[in-house]
């Protein structure tokens, strides 16, 4: 090892001292910055992943809709499954109903699904924790967990469902009775909005409620794993008959605004929190500058022993690099630890501030999501090590400028 690297390590981790205090403080400053960056970007990445999860798990990778509905779903399904990259598709119909139980009304979104086909596209069963998807028939309904809790409905209870046809019937002075449906299941997806205001019925029940006579609003589509959803949507659009006036959109396009805002927030957080690293780097600069002043005579000695100014500079620059690397490794470890125990930390915090419900309502998730992004972690590592190495440049420059004769004379 060249002498300047050897000496840099010895100055950072002096022999005979169990705890290199100055080095530890500098490393800790950088590590805290890295930890905050890792945690923030990973949580933001987790939100993005959650959006993908609940979107794809409830509506598929691609969704096809037609302006006037799809009147012959079976024929359209045959056409759709011929498109390259389409693995499976299932029809759906959507709307809003009034749902009542024990005189407690609610106004959830209702989704009519094809029980035979839906599991090939969306893994609905895994979110149903009371009852079974197979129990869903034309006289039953699956409620979301918070909605069921709000109206006090349990599996086996009966609920009254009123569709917008009620208003049409009232206009015509006709009597309209609500549809009585049996609760056959309760689901929870982990997204507050879905878990509080969505119910599933069969496609036929939905067609009856809205008087649609065999038509569907659209199809949820599952594509070949690894295929770009936008590419799959483009292929489907190219295959759609013009008379249908339909349009296929990927889950990313459907949630474009939300994903864009999340990505923007993630980038902004990365940008803003990078300043923590820069502040930590200033402390590295400060501590190395103090080191240059304290070691002025030693620097003079290095010149007297034959050390060149550029080698003296490298000695201090290398110290910045080592602090950056040590801080990055420590920060990554701290970040991983915080993320591992994030739910415990959030639970403790919300208990302390009595804000469990508010947090869940605001952020839509029961648990704090996190996803490590290789690109962000790489950016954090590169950014931190670069900034810390640059932080060593000023002390290195000061050290290299010292004339050995004057340095040896200094008091």
């Amino acid at each position: 090892m060249p002498w300047y690297l050897y000496l840099a390590l010895k100055q950072l981790f002096p022999a005979g001292r169990k705890f290199p205090f100055f080095t530890a403080i500098s490393v800790l400053g950088v590590a805290l910055g890295v930890m905050v960056l890792v945690v923030s970007t990973s949580v933001m990445g987790g939100f993005g992943r959650e959006i993908r999860r609940w979107t794809v798990d409830t509506t598929g990778d691609v969704q096809v809709r037609a302006d006037g509905g799809i009147n012959r779903p079976a024929d359209f399904l045959a056409q759709l499954t011929k498109v390259p990259g389409v693995v499976a598709a299932t029809p759906f119909a959507e709307g809003v109903v009034m749902l009542e139980h024990n005189l407690k009304p609610s106004y959830p979104a209702v989704r009519g699904i094809d029980v035979e086909r839906v599991e090939a596209v969306t893994p609905l069963s895994k979110y149903i924790y009371f009852g079974k998807l197979d129990d869903l028939d034309d006289d039953s309904v699956i409620l979301s967990s918070q909605l069921a809790a709000a109206i006090g409905a349990r599996v086996g209870d009966k609920v009254e469902v009123y569709s917008p046809l009620l208003i049409e019937a009232l206009k015509s002075d006709e009597a309209y009775l609500g549809r009585e449906l049996r609760v056959c299941g309760i689901f929870e997806i982990g997204h507050q909005a879905l878990d509080s205001s969505l119910v599933f019925v069969t496609l036929r029940t939905m067609q009856d409620l809205y008087g649609r006579r065999g038509s569907a609003d659209g199809f949820d589509v599952k594509i070949t794993p690894g295929l770009d959803p936008d590419e799959a949507a483009a292929r489907i659009n190219a295959a759609l008959p013009p008379a249908l006036h339909g349009h296929a959109r990927s889950w990313m396009e459907i949630n474009h605004d939300l994903i864009f805002i999340l990505q923007l927030e993630q980038n902004m957080i990365f940008f803003l929190l990078t300043f923590i690293i820069i502040v930590a780097a200033f402390s590295v600069t400060s501590s190395l500058l103090i080191s240059v002043v304290r070691k002025t005579r030693e620097i003079g000695l290095l010149g007297a022993l034959g050390g060149q100014p550029r080698q003296v500079a490298a000695c201090f620059c290398f110290q910045g690099l080592v602090i950056g690397m040590a801080g990055t490794v420590t920060g990554l470890a701290l970040g991983a630890t915080v993320l591992t125990f994030r739910d415990n930390i959030v639970a403790a915090f919300t208990r302390l501030t009595q804000s469990e419900a508010a947090i869940e309502r605001f952020y839509q998730f029961k648990q704090l999501p996190a996803h490590y992004s290789a690109s962000y972690i790489t950016a954090i590592i590169v950014c931190t090590i670069t900034v810390c190495t640059l932080a060593g440049l000023l002390p290195a420059w000061r050290a290299a400028r010292l004339k050995p004769v004057e340095a040896l004379r200094s008091e």
């Binding site: 050897y6 000496l7 022999a15 030693e298 022993l305 034959g306 004339k403 004769v405």
Partner: protein
């Protein structure tokens, strides 16, 4: 007091040759000329002492001879070549009044630091450093940090460090200035003995007449020139 080498050494090329060295420093609005044309030639194996009053320019002269500072006028050669920074580690060793050991290193690593200036040390360099420490009587203290050594021990480590690369020239700037008389005598004896053994040329700046008397040639610097 003759700046020329003794007759016994004149048949060899000089390790150090200085001619007409001049150096002045700015002081207030004027300048002070510290050295006014110093001539010096030192042969291999020769030891030269330089004495003079405080502030007469002894340390300035050593700085010029070591190439750490540049003269205003005059010429200097190291074994016939102009001094160069990248040759310093191999050509000369220096011993200072204040030892200047690196506090983060133990005695052995301080000695090895001189070797590191040339290349990463191997087994041979480590053996030599250990041997030099044994020669200066510090083998049992090799793993002690410099802060755990006494003044005399530190200076002996500095002597071993100065000789680590088998230099042709050793410059010692008042090496006993911070030591008591008995320890100082021992360090000078050791320095002279090691230089004799390795035929290293020695320029010793000292106030001590007894120490100066032990060198093969004695010079006195007065008013910026050798008397």
């Amino acid at each position: 007091m003759n700046p020329a080498p003794s007759s016994s050494a004149t048949d060899a090329a000089p390790v150090l040759q200085a001619a007409g060295l001049r150096k002045s420093f700015l002081s207030g609005e004027g300048s002070i000329e510290v050295l006014r044309g110093v001539d010096l030639s030192v042969m291999a194996g020769e030891s030269v002492s330089v004495r003079g009053e405080s502030g007469c320019g002894k340390s300035t002269l050593l700085n010029l001879l070591s190439g750490l500072d540049t003269p205003d006028a005059g010429t200097l050669t190291w074994a016939g070549h102009p001094p160069r920074g990248d040759r310093r580690a191999a050509f000369l060793g220096m011993v200072f009044q204040s030892f200047y050991l690196i506090p983060e290193l133990n005695a052995l690593d301080n000695v090895l630091m001189a070797a590191r200036m040339l290349k990463p040390p191997g087994a041979a360099e480590r053996a030599r450093a250990a041997d030099l420490l044994a020669r200066v009587g510090l083998a049992p203290r090799a793993t002690h940090l410099s802060t755990q050594l006494s003044g005399g021990e530190r200076q002996r480590v500095a002597v071993a460090r100065a000789l680590m690369n088998s230099p042709q020239l050793l410059l010692a700037d008042e090496p006993t200035g911070n030591l008591d008389e008995r320890t100082g005598d021992a360090v000078i004896e050791l320095l002279l003995e090691l230089c004799r053994e390795t035929r290293t040329a020695l320029v010793l700046v000292t106030h001590n007449a007894v120490h100066a008397g032990k060198t093969s040639r004695h010079l006195s610097l007065h008013n910026g020139v050798f008397q």
